[in-house]
């Protein structure tokens, strides 16, 4: 019934996110423009100017200030949103930790873009991958539809009063942010009802009494003050615990959203494709997944047992899901759209290979760093990666564990 009420709009990824924010009854948006995220806040500022939303829109002088404004508004009880990419996200680095440490449920869209130098405005995952340890939930969307859906889900996940963790919704700059796509959008009232009104848990205040967890002049509360070796570690342990609890909430929100939208992204954490009987598989994140899927289809047509695992949630890392999905595969290639200079492969490779250490059977796990600075990842390169995996199974030898796909020698 609800599905019939959905409209199909021609939106690019940025516009899809802006539309989701418009429907999510957001109180405060503070942002600073940066390509390829700019369209999000441009569109949103138009919604504000046209009176379509009641949101307080704060134009700040930097991304550091934008996130600080969101953090402050969020701890005062507001639903908040910001967006950034690349250097802008890097400038927010300090406040990313303050936001998660203050358990402020800010939602941020990242239109993934490379980091300078040399300056580059195009897509790779260097900007958000480097922030993986900052205590934010990270969801990586495959297309603009998912960016829209995930943004709506993000508010409900972040603000869950048993969780209270900020959420980054990452989607590929230009490949998604600037590319028109048919996006199914829910009616405003359905989204509003879904995200609901923010609820606050009770905490002990400095008078030893229960108070709502928000800054309110009538019920004073101190949060995030000096915290030395005697309590800092306990507060960090609490954040880790919240991350461990997050999967239940992410799953529930994903399921509830599937009911109203009829759209699912795997189980909300991983999105497997032809993995049940796969001998060889590729692990990918973001928009490249669509191309990998097409290559898997071709290979399956030729009788090759190829499969694909897309990671949707990178933080919290779906450890058990990854192990279950890959432990019966014989050779796995992990795609990383960012590099860890001097490390042994990219961040996704580190995680996937690491969690498989305790698996019952050990597949070969190799890494391909690809697509830096927006370099295209065409089907023939992915076919070559699957061919490498077949070669590994045939020869029982790995030529190189970490390789660079698509770079000129």
């Amino acid at each position: 019934m609800v599905k019939n009420q959905q409209k199909v709009l021609a939106l690019n990824g940025d516009e899809a996110v802006a539309f989701a924010v418009k429907q999510s009854d957001v109180d405060v948006v503070a942002a600073y423009p940066i390509t390829p995220q700019t369209i999000i806040v441009e569109r949103f500022s138009e919604y504000v100017a046209d009176g379509e939303v009641k949101t307080e829109f704060v134009c700040t002088e930097s991304e550091h200030s934008a996130l600080t404004a969101c953090l402050a508004a969020a701890v005062a009880g507001a639903r908040t949103f910001t967006a950034s990419a690349s250097a802008g996200l890097a400038l927010m680095h300090e406040i990313l930790y303050v936001t998660s440490g203050c358990r402020a449920p800010v939602v941020m869209a990242i239109a993934n873009r490379a980091l300078s130098a040399p300056i580059n405005i195009h897509c790779d995952h260097s900007d958000s991958m480097v922030e993986r340890d900052c205590g934010w939930i990270q969801i990586y969307a495959e297309n603009s539809q998912e960016a829209y859906d995930s943004t709506i889900q993000a508010f409900k996940i972040a603000e869950n009063r048993d969780l209270l963790l900020p959420v980054m919704v990452c989607f590929d700059g230009f490949f998604l942010s600037h590319t028109l796509e048919n996006v199914n959008v829910l009616p405003d009232e359905v989204v509003q009802k879904f995200v609901g009104i923010r609820q606050f848990p009770l905490v002990l205040n400095h008078r030893g009494k229960k108070a709502h967890f928000k800054l309110d002049p009538n019920n004073p509360l101190t949060m995030g003050p000096l915290d030395l070796y005697d309590y800092y570690f306990e507060h960090k342990r609490q954040q880790e615990e919240a991350m461990q609890e997050a999967p239940q909430i992410i799953r529930r929100v994903h399921d509830e959203y599937a009911e109203i939208s009829k759209r699912r992204y795997g189980n909300g954490f991983i999105d497997p494709y032809y993995l049940e009987d796969a001998d060889i598989a590729v692990v990918s994140m973001g928009s490249t997944t669509g191309t990998v899927r097409a290559v898997v289809d071709q290979l399956r047509g030729k009788g090759v047992k190829a499969g694909l695992l897309r990671l949707r949630t990178f933080r919290p890392l779906p450890v058990t899901d990854i192990v279950r999905a890959l432990e019966n595969v014989k050779a796995v290639a992990v795609l990383d759209r960012s590099n860890s200079f001097g490390g042994y492969g990219g961040a996704v490779f580190h995680e996937v290979r690491h969690v498989l250490y305790d698996a019952k059977s050990h597949p070969y796990v190799v890494n391909y760093v690809y697509g830096l600075g927006g370099r295209d990842m065409p089907p023939d390169i992915i076919q070559g990666i699957f061919a490498d995996l077949q070669e590994i199974l045939k020869t029982k030898r790995v030529k190189g564990y970490v390789q660079f796909a698509g770079v000129r020698e």
């Binding site: 701890v75 440490g101 203050c102 358990r103 209270l164 905490v203 002990l204 205040n205 400095h206 008078r207 030893g208 967890f213 509360l221 101190t222 949060m223 995030g224 003050p225 915290d227 005697d230 309590y231 570690f233 306990e234 507060h235 342990r237 609490q238 615990e241 919240a242």
Partner: protein, 95 residues
């Protein structure tokens, strides 16, 4: 800080203070403590105002100035600002 310390399951999230800062003595941070010479002190009451930790008190009943060494961090601002040099910073344990 020698009080009994709670575990992570017992304390509020986000570093929310569940007790006032007066229950968190910080006086053991100091190396030097201020000592007042009552003969030189004119009781101008500049020091209770400038103390950044509100650790210098004017006791109305006795009309005396008192240092609260549980919260004085030994910064020495009072000794530096005292117009009559009535406050000296003395190494802990030496006076």
């Amino acid at each position: 800080m020698s009080q009994e310390q709670k575990g992570w399951k017992e304390i509020p999230i986000a570093g929310v203070c569940w007790k006032p800062s007066t229950e968190y003595p910080t006086g053991d941070w100091k190396t030097f403590k201020p000592v007042r010479d009552p003969k030189k002190c004119t009781k101008c009451l500049l020091c209770p105002i400038i103390c950044p930790d509100a650790a210098i008190k004017w006791i109305k009943t006795t009309e005396e100035i008192e240092f609260d060494y549980n919260f004085c961090k030994g910064c020495g601002i009072c000794a530096n600002e005292c117009p009559t040099q009535a406050i000296k910073m003395v190494r802990e344990g030496e006076a």
